[in-house]
Homo-oligomer: 359 residues x 2
């Protein structure tokens, strides 16, 4: 059994689904947002459930992952990957159940993690789709601690950050899906671990539940003196999920040969104008490294990540928290909330009921 | 013989020195500058010429190197290295001749490169002092193309930048002591080479003499469109000597997996307030690497650097230019000029006459 700490606030459930409804529901990008996205930048659309061709599978979406990177896909122009076209379904990671398989590698009833986007049903070729074993771990974890956010933490901290025991690791968005894993792996590696988060509840969670040494509430404390107090030996690794004022402050505290895995810049994803950035002189003086990275480049680390993190999860050394909202229609508000730091734990949308989860 | 292009504007020389004068002249740090240094932040002092103890050498300074990093040493607080104390002699690289040796490794008359600072005579233990052969190359090159600036270019471009043939290498302060070597080594490595410099004369020099493909005059052209035109395939390596607006513009042009050896931030060395910095989103999106580095960490590369660059110099593939002013008293104005980009070529102060140079 898992020793994970799971907090799942869920709304009241509707009727039991035993049969797929005849129609598919999808959330489309209706308009490119300027600044903060608004609910009417999206639209919910109904269309017939597609049928799989030979070599394809039809899946029903149980969980949709909501992640900050999605904001970039709503813009025109280059970001991590191609933009979502207007009128097209929003992209996103999904945990699904195979409804119908015309693919030799999958059977009806299989649980899978894939990239079906903001829709209740989807046909795919199975490319990039991975089967899940509900006995190993709750299937929703394939979108969080055992999924892209967890692997982002694993690769960014271990491969780019290269933590050594006794070093100070600082991580922003510390209670989030990525930050919470960064801090716990850093602790497993024997580091002094400090977080930055946006509420007392999140900071308490990071320290009491996740084992961080300190966590600074940037909404309640003046950041720089609080960080100086929490990192008396300076900062060796800053795993940055937010950019902005936190990065500017942390750069004044970095040690010689510091490493800064640059994972996200949430603070500026909704920005209309270019923000003013940090003073890079300490990067020069401290011979520091800033390295942008995207987890999808590091597929060769999947087996190591799943092996280590599944074991740590089973041993109770790696904990996680999910923030689940019900219904595909809740996805736009969930994304807007994630970009403003209002979620607490890995943000998931429960699209269709998860048959593996006790109700 | 050397094929180097040497332009040496020199003032009229005084009388021939055959004997050391009885007194030593030294330039001391009198006051910590606020913003741009002023001549009266320094003072010239006379004191007796020191005598070497057993194990020491007495040297007379032929050339003093003037480099942007010296501005940082005038501040209180950490920079690359310890500050110069008030009332102490300013630090700096020197090419000298041994006057008296009580050290088994040096003989009177030897030419050496060391770190004697802004003074005409200095005693040292010989630690970090390297003998020079005037037949191999003009001894002044040990402060430029075959010295710290050249090695900075070599290490930063090759070890951090890791250029591949066909890649686009962009370098700021392209006509300077470091930038000119970066561009030429990049060309030797088969790259498309673009410079940024601050005058038409410097840009013409970079293209016509040094073989850059393009050079953008940031004082005459709007930077971003000029860089876009000069780098139609984007920027793979940006060797940054200046920071500021140039870095902000270049970040919008970096390619996937770009490398940015962060060598200097001259644009902000005289700044009183923290400058606003660049938007780092392209660093994340492009999986780019920014790495601050200090050449003194890379002593293990000295032999490779001297071997390659001495050979390239002899083969005429590596050219250099010196900007020499006469007399120790000219050093403060020379440093102020370097920080404002007014020098053209490696800035040197001719302190005492160089007996190897035809007059």
């Amino acid at each position: 059994m898992l020793a994970g700490s799971i907090a799942v606030p869920r709304g009241p459930k509707g009727q039991t689904h035993t049969m797929p409804s005849a129609m598919n529901r999808r959330v489309l990008l209706r308009r490119r947002p300027v600044g903060t996205p608004r609910p009417d930048d999206f639209e919910v659309s109904e269309s017939p459930i597609p049928s799989p061709h030979p070599g394809e599978i039809l899946c029903r979406t149980l969980y949709l992952s909501i992640d900050p990177y999605m904001r970039g896909r709503m813009n025109e122009g280059r970001s991590y990957a191609r933009s979502v076209e207007l009128g097209q379904v929003m992209v996103g990671g999904t945990v699904s159940q195979v409804v119908e398989s015309r693919h030799p590698g999958f059977a009806s009833g299989d649980f899978v993690v894939g990239y079906d986007g903001w829709q209740a049903y989807a046909v795919s070729t199975g490319a990039g789709v991975r089967k899940l074993d509900p006995v190993q771990a709750p299937i929703s974890t394939a979108l969080g601690v055992l999924g892209m956010p967890g692997m982002t933490a694993y690769v960014g901290l271990l491969d780019i950050g290269q933590p050594a025991p006794g070093e100070t690791v600082l991580v922003s968005a510390a209670a989030g899906a990525v930050g919470s894993v960064v801090g716990q792996i850093a602790r497993i590696k024997g580091c002094h671990v400090v977080g930055i988060a946006g509420s007392k509840a999140k900071c308490d969670y990071a320290v009491s539940e996740l084992g961080f040494d300190h966590c600074v509430d940037y909404r309640a404390q003046e950041l720089l003196p609080a960080l100086q107090a929490a990192c008396p030996g300076g900062v060796d690794i800053y795993f940055d999920n937010v950019g902005g004022a936190a990065l500017a402050a942390v750069l004044t505290l970095i040690n010689r040969n510091a490493r800064i895995p640059l994972c996200g810049l949430i603070a500026q994803y909704n920005a209309i104008e270019l923000p003013s950035g940090p003073n890079l002189l300490p990067v020069l003086v401290s011979r520091a490294l800033i390295k942008g990275f995207i987890v999808s480049d590091h597929g060769d680390r999947l087996a190591a990540f799943l092996g280590d993190c599944t074991r740590w999860l089973r041993e109770g050394r790696l904990k996680y928290r999910e923030d689940v909202v019900d219904g595909l229609e809740a996805a736009p508000a969930a994304l807007i909330g994630v970009l403003e730091g209002r979620n607490f734990g890995k943000m998931l949308v429960s699209v269709l009921p998860d048959p593996t989860r006790p109700s």
